[in-house]
Symmetry: C2
Subunit: 261 residues, 2 copies
């Protein structure tokens, strides 16, 4: 949703400029570059704000579980969920991160673990299935993830594996946080039930990065995302502040303040 | 536990034979081979009995979720959890199996999916993280897994990833079954809290089958097993019948009837 929102902003600038008397292709180009740089600057600021609001939720020396990649490699700033960890680290809280490898595409193993290493933040990679026993052994103080889309009621679509993590967190009384900029809120989607789940290439399951894990031709299913119901989300950390349930009124209020959306 | 139990039986035969007047190495060898063949035959029968008892729990056309490998490749017979599926298939119930790939060692992707294909049983491989959204979409009718050890109170140690599956099954009101021969019951272990969890080579997480998924040197944790509390287990399918909670008295009764243990 965040990506679509940015494309909409770019298209609005392009269309608006093209309609002006005396406009040139050169001028359209300049205005679009300027808008792209504004979006970049705003995203950097949004990440910093998410980090600042979110790090209040991270106790000193916390064991933080995260899923997928949500840091500097996928935003213009310090990130969303990982931005919160980075802000806590910069505040001297010495967090340790359990990094879900995030099958099937392995963003945790390939990106998040690497990124945290570069930043000097203590981290331990795990197979996604290990999260349950870590929680049972009380080795997880909080879980924090990003979002691809937040529906008007607070339901969250995110990388597959987010929802089971939220269920486990609830079962173990571990706080489960979602961190995302306001531009991820989609008020045109009433609930998570209205979010279509993309089914991706089964080869991501059977042969990740081209390496065969199963016999070629094995039937596989590969839902790219899942939906976490709002009732399992302890709080939503945005660039405008931390939201608590019930999310509906809070999201409507915040969303109306966002840029050109 | 099942493996240790079989080794104990073999050692008892060897020791007993060696102590007899006039015994020869040849005679010890013959008696041990005979005992091994008895264990094999008993295991084959135990699997068939588990299948026969368990298939009553499988509805016509059921979508069955399973974890790890529990079939003909790891028993002398049709298997434990997978034996139940095979028995249901042979009874004409046309089950469809969701096969957890079972990170980190991928027994589901490499063995179970292959084995079901050979048997002509419909199956779909999934990343372990997809189980939650399948349950949310009501595409799982039951989950069934094996066991490495069943404690005296019914707590179950099994491949890592079993416990989160049990939590998800409870959250979605999906029956969660454990299938294992009586020789897996360990009355000397009071509860799951008394079961040590083996921590295996982190390279299984970072570089499965020798293929690097994460930067070499990335710290990783790799618990091989997890413990599912008895309260999350709908029923335990054994070769002597289907046990329902409370498991303590039922397990004590059954265990006393097993072979040379």
């Amino acid at each position: 949703v965040n990506l679509g929102w940015a494309v909409d902003r770019m298209m609005a600038v392009a269309t608006g400029q093209c309609c002006q008397v005396g406009s040139t292709l050169q001028r359209v180009h300049e205005e679009m570059v300027a808008e792209a740089l504004r979006i970049e600057a705003e995203d950097r600021e949004a990440c910093s704000a998410i980090g600042a609001f979110g790090q209040d939720l991270v106790p000193e020396g916390a064991n933080v579980l995260t899923h997928c990649n949500t840091g500097m490699l996928c935003t213009a700033g310090i990130g969303t969920a990982l931005g919160v960890v980075i802000a806590a680290h910069r505040a001297g809280k010495r967090p340790h991160v359990w990094v879900d490898e995030t099958r099937p595409v392995l963003q945790g193993a390939r990106l998040t673990a690497w990124e945290l290493g570069k930043l000097g933040i203590e981290r331990t990679l795990i197979a996604d299935v290990a999260a349950g026993s870590l929680m049972a052994r009380k080795e997880v103080d909080l879980a924090i993830v990003g979002a691809d889309r937040i529906a008007a009621n607070g339901d969250v679509a995110n990388k597959v594996g987010t929802y089971p993590l939220a269920v486990l967190a609830r079962y173990h009384d571990v706080p489960f946080y979602v961190a995302a900029p306001v531009s991820t809120i989609d008020l045109s989607t009433p609930t998570g039930a209205d979010i279509p789940i993309e089914e991706r290439d089964p080869a991501e399951v059977t042969s990740p990065l081209g390496f065969d894990l199963a016999e070629p031709g094995t039937p596989a299913a590969n839902p790219a995302f899942d939906v976490t119901p709002a009732e399992l989300v302890t709080a939503i950390v945005t660039d405008r502040g931390v939201l608590r349930p019930p999310y509906g009124p809070a999201l409507r209020g915040l969303s109306s303040t966002r840029g050109a959306a």
